[in-house]
Symmetry: C2
Subunit: 149 residues, 2 copies
């Protein structure tokens, strides 16, 4: 049993770097709560984006099952920007562009379930980014990328 401690940490669970490559996100931590039971070939992770931070904008073949545990923010899901808050459940199907931003002045903490065997993420190419920026809502969502706060 993993007892939750203060500050959204779990006993005996390491606080990990979100990704090795660190120029695609800001202020995100990762904890792995469960991994690979005999009949569950998955990982159940907890990510927390600090206020003002964001996860990597990416897509990939593997599915994400996300449930927001704490706080609020916004997410890019395909071509949509949606508000997300504690309790919301988001399935991110294969090859759907996605990013989570804690852009509402609060932490954004969420569980994310994946298969333990999965493909690496793909980042947007120049033409993908141009397409995102051509959409005013997505541009507004992404523009925190362009400057310091």
């Amino acid at each position: 049993m993993l007892r939750k401690q203060h500050e959204y940490r779990w006993e005996g669970v390491d606080l990990l770097r979100y990704k090795e490559q660190d120029d695609t996100f800001r202020d995100v931590t990762r904890q792995v709560l469960f991994r690979n039971a005999p009949d569950i070939p998955c990982e159940w992770r907890y990510f927390e984006v600090a206020p003002g931070g964001w996860s990597t904008l990416e897509h990939h073949e593997h599915t994400h099952w996300v449930v927001i545990f704490r706080g609020r923010g916004e997410a890019l899901l395909g071509d949509e920007v949606v508000a997300v808050a504690a309790g919301d459940a988001v399935e991110i199907p294969a090859w759907t562009w996605h990013q989570f931003r804690a852009n509402q002045g609060e932490e954004l903490g969420f569980f994310c379930l994946v298969n333990s065997v999965r493909d690496k993420v793909t980042l947007p190419r120049e033409e993908d980014r141009a397409r995102f920026l051509a959409n005013p809502k997505i541009r507004k969502f992404l523009e925190a990328d362009n400057g310091e706060e």
Copy 2:
């Protein structure tokens, strides 16, 4: 995307009976948030036990990954009675006896991930129940079974 509504309900998600057989639990609801992505052969359910209620005391071969989302209570896990509160993560391995009780005056709401293909649960036999009742802590935990509140 499943947006959480008031009262811990999700949009478009049916509020289900916990189990068909209803003499082994009290005041438990079930909602299925995710089921069977191409690469995730699982179900992600949300159970909520109303104050004073309890889930079935059972064991089975399949694994449960449980994360408490809301409130507090106690759980029987094998031979232990443990306090559980929002954020705690509990792996219930194969053939571990378990029961959740909202016996602290609050709801106890939890996520429970399982493989979509799983064995049926087994209930305690007389000799199992006698062994539980011989343990004072477990007896105290279970004794709400013995009377009306």
